[in-house]
Symmetry: C3
């Protein structure tokens, strides 16, 4: 298995294709991994993103799909302690949804981790996080 | 051909990559297959999605590209019989665009198939449908 | 290298997978290439797209990532000479971001290249451009 993996990575490397061995080893696919983007300031969209996360977990099985919500730009407000959907964000985190806040937006908006709902993950940048997930083979939805 | 396909799937399997043999056999690619998401309640976005579908068919050839519009959340209203863009939806279906309605949203909004424009396909879930298409290699656009 | 590339393309071809040799040769990946879509008429979204482009370049290194902004539909107004974000569009072009205007939208809105900010690239169609980039392995973000 390790040899086959190494051979695949080497072969791809020779052909000029960048392949992440981590992604290959993890077997991440777009049917078992989804990143949901929130970049709107509209609470209606925040609720829709939370519904999407829940529906995907119900349809595929909570333990068979990895769901991440990435909030950036005006979407960061979704993750503040006083957010209109704070209850839903807490419930999502309880269901093992990774809820990520964009570090670049936090700096720009002078928001600190203490201002965010407990359990939110701070990532260096929202778009960078989405690029990383797509490069690992995750599906992408922007409600 | 079948042996090469089997070998590729086996090799990928050994390396821990989930590959859909159906997708491989169908040869679906992101240049010949596109899923267009509608999750806004705004008729302007509905019209834009319909224009996108038509333009893609005109540019690539109606028989050379498979186009699917997936409506969910507030976007479901696009597909109701009394929709402001009902004429455009009918025309898209006539041009072999698959127009899909989210079953989860229908249940939540108490909308039945009888409330929808004739020819609309009901799928179990809008986001699940989009994940499935991405896992099969389709392009994704969210107007 | 050339032989391995040819073998990979042939093998994929036998299995019914369409692979772009150009994409393979260029080694385009979703971590080093991103296409950012603008299809809203809202200047707030235009600014967010410009911020996204700048942040990606800062995080990954301006010379290590290829960024393209594709504007279509109501998003085309972002690229007109009298746009509220003309300064930001000029700055993005100066930083080697490819800024692309949808030819289909231009025709429909009777906008000519002379109406656009200098340095904007006119592409045949915005959605077609995005499909092409995704088929080449680029990441996709729609702010």
């Amino acid at each position: 298995m390790k040899q086959v993996l190494a051979a695949l990575v080497m072969l791809a490397g020779l052909a000029g294709i960048a392949v992440s061995p981590a992604a290959l080893a993890a077997g991440k696919t777009s049917m078992s991994h989804i990143v949901i983007q929130v970049s709107d300031g509209d609470p209606g969209k925040w609720q829709l993103a939370l519904n999407n996360a829940e529906n995907v977990q119900e349809a595929l099985g909570k333990d068979k799909v990895k769901v991440e919500i990435v909030a950036y730009g005006p979407g960061l407000n979704m993750l503040k302690s006083d957010s209109k959907v704070a209850g839903g964000v807490n419930a999502a985190i309880d269901r093992n949804v990774q809820v990520s806040a964009c570090g670049v937006t936090m700096k720009k908006m002078k928001v600190t981790k203490a201002d965010l709902i407990g359990g939110v993950t701070v990532v260096p940048g929202g778009v960078i996080e989405i690029m990383k997930r797509q490069s690992e083979g995750w599906s992408y939805v922007r409600p």
